[in-house]
Each structure stands twice: as structure tokens, then as C-alpha cells.
């Protein structure tokens, strides 16, 4: 079985947030980071498609609409592998709490929604470390679109325009992101992912997340005391 289904043995703790754009996951992660820091914990934060090795190339290729689903998938895997080996794994070894805005599950959801074989992409990410806590923020595509596209048109890949589901970017966004959401929901049981309702208040979700993380840290012998 792949590493994604096995508990890791690092001293640190890995927390990931998942969900489509506009689900509020980054807000929650930022709040969590500030809180953990104020409790004196060693925390690092890493986000999807941000490695110095490849992220600029991927962004440029996206702008030019140059990517096939498979190249899209592999380029994001390069980014992930780079951050995993250079940032995430070393930090976990050093006992950090690692907060990841999106993880391998983003690839599983998006790439499969683009028609890539689910088994193939899971195998590509076979080197990923299983998070201690993964939270999925559940939101319907329509609300997501209202939140992120209130003053702009959805971007080419974010709307899944490469799949030619519709020539209208707004309609395409809804169709494509519905597929992504469907893939996320299939993964909840497969990877022990906790689902939160994105429509709950920021405060309510944060209280819930802090509670879950405190429990997990406790099992690792780490107590949280607010300073």
C-alpha cells in the first residue's frame, strides 16, 4: 500500500486543507498558523504550486493554455515532490507543525476531473506522506464562483476550459468544479478526510479545527498552552 495510507513516523505533525477555490481554506489555515505561533509552536506553511523549481513555468504555461491534462498533472507533481523533499519532510523530521494549503488530494480531484486515470495519478504521488489531519471544506460550485469571480471571469484552467465542456467560462466553471467536488467526496473515506461545511462561520470552523488539532497533538505528547 502506498505511503498515503500509512501513518508516518516523523516527530512533526502534518495538517492539510483541501477544497475548491473560495471554500475559505486559506483563511482557516492562516488563523491556525497565527494561533500556533502565539502558542510558541514551530510552524511552517506551504502552498500548492509554489516551488521555486517549477511554479513559474507552470503558471506561464497555464497563461498560454499550453497544457494537456497529463502534462498539467506531471508539472504539479514536480512542484509537490520538490516541496515535499525540500520543505515538508525536513520540517516534519525537525518536529515542526507543517500546514499545507492543498496537498496530493488536489491533484487527485483535479486531474481525475480532467479525465486522467485515478489509479495512475495516485501512483504518481505514491511518495507523499500521509497527513495527520486533512480537512475538506465543502462548498457548492455556485457559491464558490460567487465568492472568487464576483469581479472577474474564471481563468482558463480553473474553469476547466481545456475540457471544452462549455464555451462560457462561468458555465464551464460550474460544470468542471462540480466534477472536482465529486472527486473530493469520493476521497473522504478513502483517505480519512474530515469534512467541514464551508458555509459555517469562520469562527465556528476555526474552533472545530483547533479542537481536532489539539487532540492529535496530545496523542503525540504535545500540549498546547496559550501564552
Amino acid at each position: 500500500m502506498a505511503k498515503l495510507n500509512e501513518k508516518h513516523n516523523y516527530e512533526g505533525t502534518l495538517v492539510c486543507v483541501e477544497g475548491i477555490d473560495g471554500s475559505g481554506k486559506s483563511t482557516q489555515l492562516a488563523l491556525l498558523r497565527d494561533w500556533l505561533k502565539s502558542c510558541g509552536k514551530d510552524v511552517i506553511y506551504t502552498e500548492w504550486n509554489s516551488s521555486p523549481l517549477i511554479s513559474q513555468t507552470t503558471k506561464l504555461a497555464k497563461k498560454k493554455n499550453m497544457l494537456s491534462p497529463r502534462t498539467f498533472s506531471l508539472l504539479h507533481a514536480v512542484d509537490f515532490a520538490d516541496r515535499l523533499k525540500q520543505v515538508i519532510a525536513p520540517a516534519l523530521k525537525a518536529g515542526f507543525i507543517v500546514l499545507a494549503d492543498r496537498y496530493a488530494y488536489t491533484a487527485f480531484a483535479r486531474d481525475v476531473a480532467r479525465g486522467v486515470d485515478p489509479k495512475w495519478v495516485r501512483q504518481v504521488y505514491d511518495f507523499a506522506i500521509k497527513p495527520d489531519l486533512t480537512i475538506y471544506f465543502d462548498i457548492d460550485p455556485k457559491t464558490s464562483m460567487e465568492r472568487i469571480c464576483f469581479n472577474r471571469t474564471p481563468k482558463f484552467y480553473e474553469a476547466g476550459m481545456d475540457l471544452k465542456l462549455s464555451s462560457d467560462p462561468f458555465e464551464s466553471y460550474i460544470l468542471f468544479q462540480s466534477r472536482v467536488v465529486k472527486e473530493y467526496k469520493k476521497m473522504l473515506a478513502e483517505f480519512d478526510i474530515v469534512k467541514l461545511d464551508a458555509k459555517d462561520s469562520i469562527h465556528k470552523k476555526q474552533v472545530e479545527i483547533r479542537k481536532m488539532l489539539t487532540e492529535i497533538l496530545k496523542t503525540k505528547g504535545v500540549e498546547i498552552e496559550e501564552i
Binding site: I54, M66, R70, T71, V78, D82, W120, D126, F127
Partner: protein
């Protein structure tokens, strides 16, 4: 009507072998002789996608790659070329001549410690070639050729793997390990193995004959 295994109109021919084994020379000769016979020929070389090749070179220059990102970047380069150049050409009935194919990745990535099944999965969607020529060269001859031409390169010598800090020694170990991987693949993938120390024209003749056999079947007519 006869069809190729991969189902495309065109024909896929691969030349494999380690660095300095004479692949590009043979590719040029084969291309010329096929064009002379009025066949449409398309050539594609390893690590040349517009999108990713520069990233790989730059990352190598700055020593940014680990074994996993090394594998994945080459796989992305391959996917880009396959989908944007190779498959369209095959669909249009070209003879596609490739300088290296995913066998190169299998050899190099496994030598860098990757699990072979993982690497195979990265390339599992690639069409099976109609012919794979493998230029078999002993390491001592390779060493002389490379030192006499381009000189020893950091990655070609496998210096990133840490076999030895001595360039010569590292090259020897690394290329031997790659050769071992190629040897393992010969049978599994039906390589036509050619003694790379033969003369350029002798090797060309062998390749030309093999290609001609397929052309004589009328499959491209």
C-alpha cells in the same frame, strides 16, 4: 489493411543507447535515407519540449534536482512532446524517429534509486514503438568518445547520485549501472541490439534493412 500495434497510421522507430553511443549520427542517416525514399519523417529528441527542457537544464545547472523531481520533470517533458509532436505526427502517417524513449528514463531513474514499477507507471500510456534499436557500447569506448568530444558532464557522470567524487570513476560506475539496466530491458522490450563499435555505415545498413522489412510489408503505402 495491415495496422501497427499502436493503432496509428504512422511508424514509430526509436534509437536507444547511452551517451556517446552514436545515436544522433544514426538518426540523421536514417532520416535522410527515408526521405530519399519519399517518406515523411519527423524527428524528436529526448528533453526538447519547449515547455520544460529549459527548466531541466537550469535546474541541473543550479543543482536543484532530487531523484523524484528529476524523474517527474523528464516525464513531463516526455508527455508534452508525446502529445504535442509525436502522436499528431503518427496520426498523420509520418515515420517518427526518436532519439531516446522512455527506456532512457527507466535506466536513469532506477540507477538513481527509484522503484522501477513507479517509473513504468509514469510512462505507461506511451505507445509501443515498432522498432527499437539499441546501440551497445562498452564503457571504456564510451569514456574515450565523451572525453574526446563534449567532456564529462555532471549528470551524465551520475555525480548527483554520489557514487564517487572522482569524475572518471563516477562516470564509469554510473554508465555501467545504466548499461546493466539497458541489458535487463533488451528482451522485455524486444530491442534490436547493435554492436556500437561497428562502423557508422555498417550500423546504418543494419537499421535501414530492419526499417525496409517493415516498409516492404506495404503498411505505409
Amino acid at each position: 489493411m495491415k495496422k501497427f500495434k499502436h493503432g496509428y497510421e504512422g511508424m514509430l522507430v526509436v534509437i536507444e543507447g547511452t551517451d556517446g553511443s552514436g545515436k544522433s549520427t544514426q538518426l540523421e542517416l536514417l532520416k535522410k535515407s527515408l526521405q530519399d525514399k519519399s517518406y515523411g519523417v519527423m524527428v524528436s529528441e529526448w528533453k526538447t519540449s519547449r515547455l520544460i527542457a529549459d527548466v531541466i537544464d537550469d535546474a541541473k545547472d543550479r543543482n536543484l534536482l532530487n531523484a523524484t523531481t528529476y524523474s517527474l520533470l523528464y516525464a513531463a517533458d516526455f508527455a508534452d512532446r508525446l502529445e504535442n509532436q509525436i502522436i499528431p505526427a503518427l496520426k498523420s502517417g509520418f515515420i517518427v524517429l526518436l532519439d531516446r524513449y522512455y527506456y532512457t528514463a527507466l535506466a536513469r531513474d532506477v540507477v538513481r534509486g527509484q522503484n522501477i514499477e513507479w517509473v513504468k507507471n509514469l510512462y505507461e500510456y506511451a505507445p509501443e514503438p515498432d522498432l527499437v534499436f539499441y546501440l551497445d557500447m562498452p564503457v571504456d569506448v564510451l569514456l574515450k568518445r565523451i572525453i574526446g568530444t563534449t567532456g564529462l558532464d555532471f549528470y551524465e557522470s551520475g555525480r548527483d547520485v554520489g557514487f564517487s567524487t572522482d569524475f572518471y570513476k563516477s562516470f564509469e560506475i554510473y554508465q555501467n549501472k545504466c548499461l546493466e539496466q539497458y541489458n535487463n530491458m533488451k528482451q522485455e522490450y524486444g530491442f534490436i541490439s547493435i554492436d556500437g563499435t561497428k562502423s557508422i555505415s555498417a550500423i546504418h545498413k543494419i537499421m535501414n534493412n530492419e526499417v525496409q522489412k517493415i516498409l516492404d510489408s506495404g503498411i505505409l503505402d
